[in-house]
Amino acid sequence: MKVTVKSWTGVATWRWVANDDNCGICRMPFDSCCPDCKLPGDDCPLVWGACSHCFHIHCIVKWLHSQPQQQCPMCRQDWKFNNK
């Protein structure tokens, strides 16, 4: 008997490679989206700060807008986008 695989369709789930499961601002899972969005992933991406904390981009932008100082909400260091 000879078995030949012609095609294999697998199923995978995607996830962000981050050191936490949930966004520290909105408390939603990173793999879900921020409260203002409907679609996860490309439409509601994550961003990392120089301090290595990460958030939904929409969450951190909203946060920074509402604060007099541009600090990371988790560690209170000055916030800088880390373009890694």
Binding site: T9, V11, T13, W14, R15, V17, G41
Partner: protein, 776 residues
């Protein structure tokens, strides 16, 4: 003053001449002038009272001994109605004559009575004639024989036939027998019957015996005729309204016949005969109530069938609607229909989609019957309870909602709902259409809820909550999306749009993401196929992937499966390519999900199969080594032994693997003597679908249980602090804690079920309606 004996003798014989009844006969030639003289003699003797009383006594005796027995002697049981008709006629005639023969004597008795001046009532009446009639009636009725109704019935039956026939002549055609009198047409007797009928009734009327003698018989008879007429006309035909025809029939045939009975043959009572007018009017009211009542009862007995045939049966439903207002049969209707539904629908022999279809038509028909929704609510309660306990209800509702083509009532309903919401939405509670709730309405239910509920929400409510229903839909959609390679996403999106109108955006948002995942996967997959490394690997076989947003899909059943090395290599390359494409993101594979297209060459035959990753993996291992024990398979595939045993049956049924000894499996290869049965023609070169139709998703029940676990720590906390709490208190407190996340709302009923499972597993104790933590 004294009289000679001879004179007294003469006087007595004269008195006897005037009142022959004293000798037990009736006939006398005594004229008025002659009586004048006799009257004076009586008065002269001062014995008027004595004579009067004596005469009355003799009349009474005569009636008792002769008239009544001879009258009743004709009331015998007869077989033929014709004979009964004649007997009754002659009985009435003879009675009438006998009574008439008294008239001369009664005249004289009246004069005598007037001379008595004692104003004593004659048989409770003021005058002799009335008293006499009263006496006749009383005497007759005191001797009523047992079967007296038989010939009366015959009499009216024969005459009614003639009348009924008169108004129903269209089908006379070439019949040789007259359907009125049942004689041959050439010898038709109808005229005679009508004549006798009128004469007899007239006589009975004069004797004031009509009502007393025939009232009950007539009522029974007419009611019987009404019932049989309704049966004949309406039984089993629901596509026509019958009420109008029945009313006309009652008016033209029955009432005109009755009027003729009461009016001695004329078709109308004289306008100043108030008594007769009244009697007829009363009779008519009684009969039309009876007509509605019988018709409604017939329809109630047939209601289940009427509902099944709805909307073709709408005329019948309209009739019932009219009838319910005129009768008091609402509760009978509810009771009967409920039990009909129970016996014909709610048992294991009927499958769920059929119950659902019947439920939908019931909703439609009863809505039409009773727009207040009260009957519907009462009657279908057992249906809802029953459906709630069937495992496949939500699944059936969802699949019939998404079914395409004719016959899917629910899919139509969904489209209809969408169309309605497009139009003006505020019209359904228009003030001018408002009616108060009927008296049997449940006052705890808001009437606008009852009215506004559409069919789909009624179905969804069967299961308790919208959330659970939507979850089930999500699970079904997930299964369909994963099972089919070439899923028609456009069609699914269209349905999703309809469902969104129905259940709201937020509930179905997850499904939207699922569908987007599938179309995104196609795009990403196409990009990854262009990756150099993938291109090289694809020379052996192509690997594709569906990439899902885990948070939005229903939880997958946890199943382990170790894939063959070459497959894992493909997936690693695929993951790497994905990571390159989407920065900071990676993939987690669900090895047991997906599908595999394989070709099996055995001997000189080829099989082209699409199978599950499990089945593909297993047969690949058998290619490497033709003999495996179950433990060895467990080692390499990392699948529990029980699952292996269950799933290996697929290849056994294909005839490729056989169990040589217990838990020891061998490949049936064409090379050695034992030929595999796949060589037979029908499997050769066939494209075979893996028949594993089991859902890969955790069931709705498991899922919900999982969601409710969120509450468990709260509940334990509460009970630790407060010792014991009743159900509704726990529910209230949970509501305060519950977040807005989907699935965390929890009905009282769900909570009870959840707590009950905790009681069963001894994590809780239920005592006198209070939940407690067990003492440790």
């Amino acid at each position: 003053m004294s009289y000679k004996k001879e004179d007294l003798k003469i006087y007595w014989s004269k008195i006897n001449y005037a009142f022959p009844i004293l000798n037990d006969t009736i006939f006398s030639d005594c004229g008025n002038a002659e009586y004048e003289e006799i009257q004076q003699i009586i008065v002269g003797l001062g014995i008027q009272i004595k004579i009067r009383d004596l005469v009355l006594l003799h009349i009474e005796k005569y009636l008792r001994q002769h008239v009544a027995p001879s009258f009743w002697s004709k009331f015998v049981k007869v077989e033929e109605d014709e004979k009964g008709f004649q007997l009754f006629k002659s009985a009435v005639n003879d009675l009438y004559d006998a009574v008439a023969n008294f008239s001369g004597m009664l005249q004289r008795l009246t004069i005598l009575n007037n001379s008595c001046n004692d104003s004593k009532p004659i048989y409770a009446e003021k005058d002799v004639i009335s008293g006499f009639k009263q006496l006749v009636r009383a005497t007759l009725l005191s001797q009523l024989p047992l079967d007296f109704q038989v010939i009366i019935e015959s009499f009216y039956k024969v005459s009614f036939n003639v009348f009924d026939n008169e108004y129903d002549k269209e089908d006379m055609g070439e019949d040789v027998t007259c359907s009125g009198c049942l004689n041959e047409c050439s010898d038709c007797n109808c005229m005679y019957i009508v004549k006798v009928f009128h004469e007899t009734n007239k006589k009975l009327m004069e004797l004031q015996l009509l009502e007393r003698l025939t009232g009950q018989v007539l009522t029974n008879f007419i009611q019987m005729r009404i019932e049989s007429h309704i049966q004949k006309l309406c039984n089993g035909t629901f596509d026509k309204s019958h009420i109008g025809f029945l009313e006309t029939w009652l008016d033209t045939t029955v009432m005109s016949w009755l009027t003729r009975i009461y009016c001695g043959g004329s078709s109308k009572p004289s306008p100043d005969d108030k008594n007769t007018l009244n009697a007829i009017l009363k009779f008519k009211q009684k009969l039309s109530y009876f007509l509605y009542h019988s018709y409604t009862k017939l329809r109630i007995d047939e209601l289940f069938n009427i509902i099944i045939e709805y909307p073709d049966s709408q005329p019948a439903v309209d009739d019932i609607k009219i009838c319910l207002e005129k009768t008091d049969l609402r509760s009978t209707l509810c009771k009967n229909l409920q039990s009909a539904l129970e016996t014909r629908l709610l048992h294991p022999g009927v499958n769920t989609p059929d119950i659902l279809t019947a439920y939908v038509t019931t909703i439609r028909a009863l809505r039409h019957l009773d727009p207040s929704g009260v009957i519907l609510e009462t009657v279908t309660k057992p249906v809802r309870n029953y459906l709630r306990n069937r495992d496949d209800t939500v699944r059936s509702v969802v699949s019939s909602l998404t079914e395409e083509g004719a016959g899917s009532e629910l899919a139509e309903e969904l489209v209809k709902f969408a169309a309605e919401t497009d139009g003006d939405s505020d019209k359904d509670e228009a003030w001018d259409e408002w009616n108060p709730d009927p008296v049997d309405a449940d006052p705890t239910v808001d009437s606008s809820d009852r009215r506004a509920n559409d069919i789909i929400s009624m179905l969804v409510n069967v299961y308790g909550s919208k959330e659970l229903f939507v979850n089930e839909y999500r699970t079904l959609l997930a299964d369909r999306l994963l099972a089919q390679n070439a899923i028609n996403t456009e069609k699914e999106i269209r349905y999703l749009e309809l469902l969104k109108l129905r259940f709201g955006e937020s509930q179905l948002h997850y499904c939207e993401v699922m569908l987007k995942d599938i179309s995104d996967s196609k795009r990403i997959n196409a990009l990854i196929q262009q990756d150099k490394e993938i291109e090289i690997l694809n020379k052996k076989f192509t690997s594709n992937a569906m990439i899902l947003s885990a948070q939005f899909w229903p939880p997958f059943k946890d199943e382990s499966l170790e894939l063959p090395e070459q497959i894992k290599r493909h997936f690693e390359a695929y993951t790497k390519s994905f990571e390159g494409l989407k920065g900071n993101r990676t993939l987690s594979w669900k090895p047991h999900l997906g599908n595999v297209n394989i070709e099996i060459e055995i001997g000189d035959k080829k099989l082209d199969l699409t199978v599950s990753p499990f089945n593909a993996t297993m047969i690949m291992y058998f290619q490497d080594k033709p003999e495996w024990s179950i433990d060895e398979l467990h080692q390499v595939m990392k699948v529990p032994v029980t699952v292996l045993r269950r799933k290996i049956t697929y290849w056994q049924s294909m005839g490729l693997i056989t169990e040589k000894t217990t838990d020891h499996f061998v490949l049936v290869d064409g090379s050695d003597g034992n030929k595999p049965n796949v060589a037979s023609n029908q499997v050769q070169e066939m494209i075979c679908e893996d028949d594993e139709t089991e859902s890969v998703m955790a069931s709705a029940h498991d899922q919900r249980e999982g969601e409710l676990q969120v509450f468990w720590s709260y509940i334990v906390g509460m009970l630790t602090n407060l010792d014991s709490l009743p159900l509704d208190r726990i529910h209230q407190m949970l509501k305060m804690f519950a977040s807005q996340a989907p699935g965390t709302e929890c009905s009282l009923q769900e909570l009870r079920q959840f707590l009950d499972t905790k009681v069963r597993t001894h994590q809780l104790v239920l005592q006198g309606g209070m939940y407690k933590l067990p003492k440790t």
